[in-house]
């Protein structure tokens, strides 16, 4: 039974991965990745990682993919492919690289001779991979990693807000490119002396 579920989930995961790479439309790629993530959660369940599987479905397939869908809808990846095809030479070379990478990884894994890999793993103990065990590890053995991860999340959230906020300080946002700003062709906020403390601190309201 486990074999049947494994092959269904593994085929789903690999097909989702290939769909993500090969589909022309960015929106279809995102949906394909959702299928891949759900199949991967089934594989995690087979490996007795209940909590990781639940987090995968809730955090990844839920929250992160919603973010992707919103951004794809915002920048309009729906009706046309955003980028043309790469050159045929590059495509063949990339496929060749991926194939060679797969062969190398497989040889390294199978040739490692680890006896644990030929078995079904260590004998199952009740409670392995349960939320209580993971939580206990996070709060005792991996406390520093846990705290650093929370700081990283905070920094990333603040950084994303700062990156994606609407800027009105540039003269004409339609024609400004980064190179022009670097060459000083377009005035930025710092060129004009600030009138008030409010303007010095943020973009002027127009």
């Amino acid at each position: 039974m486990a074999e049947v579920i494994f092959f269904i989930a593994a085929i789903g995961a690999v097909a989702g991965a290939l769909g993500t790479v090969l589909l022309r439309n960015a929106f279809h790629s995102v949906l394909s990745l959702v299928c891949h993530l759900i199949a991967l959660a089934a594989l995690f369940l087979l490996l007795r990682a209940e909590f990781v599987a639940a987090a995968q479905v809730i955090v990844y397939a839920g929250a992160v993919m919603v973010l992707y869908v919103f951004v794809v809808a915002y920048i309009g990846g729906g009706d046309r492919p955003l980028a043309g095809p790469a050159g045929p030479g590059l495509k063949v070379l990339s496929a060749l690289f991926a194939g060679v990478l797969f062969a190398e990884l497989t040889i390294a894994l199978v040739g490692s001779g680890l006896s644990a890999l030929e078995s079904e793993g260590a004998p199952y103990e009740p409670g392995f991979g349960s939320p209580s065990q993971i939580g206990g590890l996070f709060l005792t053995k991996f406390l520093i990693a846990f705290e650093i991860a929370s700081i990283l999340l905070l920094v990333a959230a603040v950084g994303a807000v700062i990156l994606a906020r609407r800027r009105s300080g540039l003269e004409d946002p339609r024609e400004v490119s980064v190179a022009d700003v670097m060459r000083g062709r377009h005035g930025t906020l710092t060129d004009a002396p600030p009138e008030t403390m409010l303007e010095a601190g943020g973009p002027p309201r127009r």
């Binding site: 790479v21 992160v64 053995k141 190179a179």
Partner: protein, 99 residues
């Protein structure tokens, strides 16, 4: 089920993601392919955790998911900023840093 099968599936997903990063030019899809590679690493970590009967690998997988979420947030913020400046959403056109 031999754990080797899980690792082979992980290798297959990882190479698909690596090939996708090389082929695709849309930064959104490149981010998706990065997710694929991180997920393949997660699958290998969980498989090794099962092999050892030790949950440390699962904790590592969860931390990898946190880092992936941060990467997605910052990457999507960058893409939205690029779009707001009316620059082309294409990694071959965005070469002002001489990349």
């Amino acid at each position: 089920m031999n754990l080797t099968w899980y690792l082979v599936a992980s290798a297959l997903i990882f190479s698909a993601g690596a090939g996708g990063i090389l082929v695709r030019r849309n930064p959104l899809v490149i981010l998706l392919c990065l997710e694929l590679m991180l997920n393949a690493a997660n699958l290998a970590l969980v498989a090794f955790a099962r092999a050892h009967g030790n949950a440390d690998g699962q904790v590592f997988a969860l931390i990898v998911m946190v880092v992936a979420a941060c990467e997605v947030a910052v990457g999507l913020g960058l893409i939205v900023a690029i779009f707001r400046r009316r620059l082309p959403i294409d990694v071959d056109e965005l070469r002002e840093l001489q990349g």
